[in-house]
């Protein structure tokens, strides 16, 4: 009988800030951008004032004048995350990371290996994390990934929910829940199901697949299986390799300055390519996304004939894409560069050494930046951005202009992406 644990840290970024700084404990704090702020994480003290994520920091301040706003320190969260997963790894090698602050553990074998049944093992993890790291996690233990994930998220903070592997108990827990707890059911699908009178998971479970597919299409069968707790997804240890490399930036002020936007995109491409080279890979496709001030988004992609790991190869594509995409006379709020169609391993060598020289140059620049920070060596477009920064534009959310040399490391970027994704 399988036993799976899902854990989810409570108000992770805010909890880490409170753990790291004693003076913040017990007080309403949020982690978020100082300028154009969106609350990335709110402590439970802050939530009592009705503050939630994602909400503008200004709105949060109105709700709670005493609110403490802390700029995000992603490398710190990454460190805490590594510690949590380190503790998790002491219980079982089968750990599936789901983000900085949540994951699945397969505890099926702990009784034999650790002389501790899964529930005891889970309780120990929760205690250890709290004692060592001063942050709390909520946990759910169940036979399926679906159930334990719902259980850990439903009862917070410091929840500890065990659903015994008995069909009556399992369905007794699952069926009364609102349909939004099912995987893949967002607000749109939820409204759709509700309009058909399906508000509880139990109702979905009794629905014939044919009827259900009238509502949700091809995902009907999977959905009904979930509603009946039929879920044999295993806990997968190996985090799949990155399928794409994405970097994005929200401007401090929405802009119409094409040169500035283009320079920003190129800088984001530089950063993405630097990560790509560190992983020893190449890509063939580049995607650019722009978000207008009214949140309308446009995106487009172009591919090279040959894979590359040198950013200069995609600069012309980026400029072309930006020109094509930016067809409204509206200010831009956010831009994103994404590199995909990843090539691993083999690289074709070059007869006249031209490509090799360009790669070498890029690698040397990576090393200089690693050692002296992002300003250690600058391209022309970096100067465009410098100029804009002096005029008071530029600067990404969260990042302070004066960065120490070791910042800008990969850990920080990774955390930033996850932060972006967790905002949905």
């Amino acid at each position: 009988m399988r036993a799976i644990l899902h854990f989810d840290a409570d108000a992770f970024f805010a909890s880490v800030e409170q753990a790291a700084d004693r003076s913040l404990r017990g007080r309403p704090i949020v982690v978020g951008g100082l300028h154009r702020g969106i609350v990335a994480s709110a402590s439970y003290e802050a939530r009592r004032y009705g503050i939630y994520t994602p909400m503008p920091v200004t709105a949060a301040r109105r709700l709670c004048p005493k609110l403490i706003v802390v700029p995000p320190r992603f490398e710190l969260y990454e460190q805490f995350s590594a510690h949590i997963f380190g503790l998790a790894g002491e219980i079982t090698p089968i750990v599936e990371r789901q983000g900085v602050d949540e994951g699945y553990l397969d505890l099926t074998g702990t009784s034999r290996c650790l002389k501790r049944d899964p529930v005891e093992a889970a309780a120990k993890l929760q205690r250890d994390v709290k004692d060592w790291l001063k942050v709390t996690i909520s946990q759910g233990v169940a036979r399926t990934k679906l159930l334990c994930q719902i259980a850990s998220k439903k009862f917070k903070p410091e929840g500890f929910t065990v659903i015994p592997p008995d069909p009556a108990e399992e369905l007794g827990f699952l069926h009364p829940l609102p349909v939004k707890w099912l995987p893949g059911i967002g607000p749109a699908h939820e409204r759709l199901l509700q309009s058909a009178g399906l508000t509880r998971i139990g109702q979905v479970a009794r629905m014939p697949v044919e009827w259900l597919s009238e509502l949700v299409g091809s995902s009907a069968r999977g959905l009904r299986d979930f509603a009946n707790n039929i879920d044999d997804r295993p806990v997968v240890t190996n985090t799949p390799e990155a399928l794409s490399y994405g970097h994005q930036e929200t401007f401090q002020e929405d802009t119409t300055d094409a040169a500035f936007v283009d320079a920003t995109l190129r800088r984001l491409a530089d950063e993405a390519f630097s990560r790509l080279r560190a992983d020893g890979r190449q890509i063939r496709t580049v995607t650019v996304k722009i978000r207008y001030t009214d949140m309308d988004e446009h995106q487009g992609q172009m591919s090279l004939k040959e894979p590359t790991d040198v950013a200069a190869d995609v600069y012309p594509l980026i400029s072309k894409l930006l020109q094509r995409l930016w067809d409204r006379r509206v200010r831009i709020r956010m831009v994103q560069v994404r590199l995909s169609n990843v090539y691993t391993g083999f690289s074709q060598l070059d007869l006249f050494g031209v490509r090799q020289r360009r790669r070498d140059l890029a690698m040397v620049c990576d090393q200089i930046r690693e050692k002296f920070g992002p300003r250690g060596v600058m391209r022309a477009h970096d100067w465009v951005l410098e100029g804009a920064r002096d005029e008071g534009r530029g600067a990404r959310d969260g990042a302070k202009p004066a960065r120490s040399a070791s910042e800008g490391s990969r850990g920080q970027r990774k955390a930033k992406e996850e932060y972006v994704f967790s905002r949905g």
Binding site: K305, T344, G345, F346, S347, Q348, L349, L351, F352
Partner: protein, 365 residues
């Protein structure tokens, strides 16, 4: 103008012209072919302002001399779809009528006087070479030419005239093919030019329609090739072709003689389990043996062995299989010699005295 023309002969010419006629252009006139009556037949000419073709069609009966300009794709389709042995073409600057036994087409024409001039090869050519020889030279090099490379000069084939030898060289930056052949006649000084890939393709396409010798005119901005009734002229690629001699290794330690057929088959089979993202075949030379292997992540692996004369230190090197098969297909000799130094150095293939192929390996680590 009014002519009666043999349909098969006209079709052969229009096929060749279709490789020249501009497909994407705003100038409608460049989508046309020009038909002009001459003393003993009719001239068909086409150009996209870079490459130009003029062909003398003999199987024509001229009823009334003249000149017409007509959309190449429409004329081509009509001639292809018709079943008559001969077609009658009749027209003026306004329109052109094409008549078969049971059909009549009218195509609105353009003024032929606006069509750009298409050069003829006048006087003695600088070089004359057998059709078969030139065809071999082109077949052995054209495949290696760069496609839309930012280094403009390698988007063409280098033609080098040295005494009575003609060498064609093409590279895409990862591999280089050079083929040398003997000319029948050669006048003037040694010379070289970079001919656009499209032009070489057009020449390759028309050579099978001709026999005898091909005359070539080398000049500083234009190449003119006359093969039988066909004259192809083209602007040259500007820029400097890379110093290719420097990348041909001269100090390879390992020389291996391979049966062309057997090696080609082995590479093709080993390449069945490569994919777009990991395109490499590993060549492992051991005692008297060559093992070719490949791996496609999440699909599978392939191993093919063949016997070779090899008695030196084991050597492993990776290649893009397409780069190998491209060259082996056109080698044209029962055996090829492969020369290697080490895994990160180029491999060299030689087929007879005339063909040399340098290919950079793939980094396997």
């Amino acid at each position: 103008m009014q002519v009666i023309v043999n349909r098969a002969a006209l079709m052969e010419v229009l096929n060749a012209a279709s490789g020249v006629v501009a497909s994407r252009t705003t100038k409608d006139i460049l989508k046309c072919v020009r038909l002009t009556t001459v003393d003993n037949g009719m001239l068909v000419s086409a150009t996209d302002l870079e490459v130009a073709l003029r062909v003398h069609v003999h199987q024509v009966e001229v009823k009334k001399p003249g000149d017409i300009l007509i959309a190449a794709d429409k004329l081509g389709s009509i001639v292809r779809e018709s079943t008559d042995e001969t077609l009658t073409l009749e027209g003026d600057t306004q329109s052109c009528h094409i008549r078969g036994q049971d059909s009549h087409f009218e195509i609105y024409g353009q003024d032929p006087r606006e069509f750009p001039p298409v050069p003829e090869l006048e006087g003695t050519p600088d070089l004359e070479i057998e059709v078969e020889n030139l065809k071999t030279l082109i077949d052995r090099t054209l495949f290696a030419v760069a496609k839309e490379n930012t280094r403009y000069a390698i988007n063409g084939v280098l033609w080098e005239k040295k005494g009575k030898k003609l060498a064609l060289v093409a590279t895409d930056g990862r591999r280089l093919a050079r083929s040398v052949g003997s000319a029948e006649q050669s006048v003037g000084e040694d010379n070289s030019m970079i001919v656009p890939a499209k032009t070489v393709q057009v020449i390759q396409k028309v050579l099978p329609n001709t026999e005898g010798t091909v005359g070539i005119r080398f000049s500083s901005n234009l190449v003119i090739v006359r093969a039988g009734d066909y004259v192809i002229s083209s602007a040259l690629v500007e820029g400097r072709f890379p110093q290719y001699e420097e990348v041909i290794p001269k100090d390879c330690d390992h020389k291996i003689e391979l049966s062309t057929e057997e090696f080609l088959s082995a590479v093709r089979r080993a390449s069945l389990l490569t994919n777009e993202q990991s395109k490499a075949v590993r060549l492992a030379f051991g005692k008297e043996k060559l093992v070719l292997s490949s791996r496609a992540p999440e699909q599978g692996e392939a191993t093919v062995s063949m016997r070779v004369e090899y008695n030196e230190e084991p050597l492993e090197i990776g290649f893009n299989p397409v780069f190998l098969t491209d060259a082996l297909r056109v080698a044209g000799t029962p055996t090829v010699t492969m020369e290697l130094k080490e895994a990160s150095q180029p491999g060299v293939f030689r087929a007879g005295a005339g063909f040399l192929y340098v290919v950079m390996p793939v980094n396997l680590s």
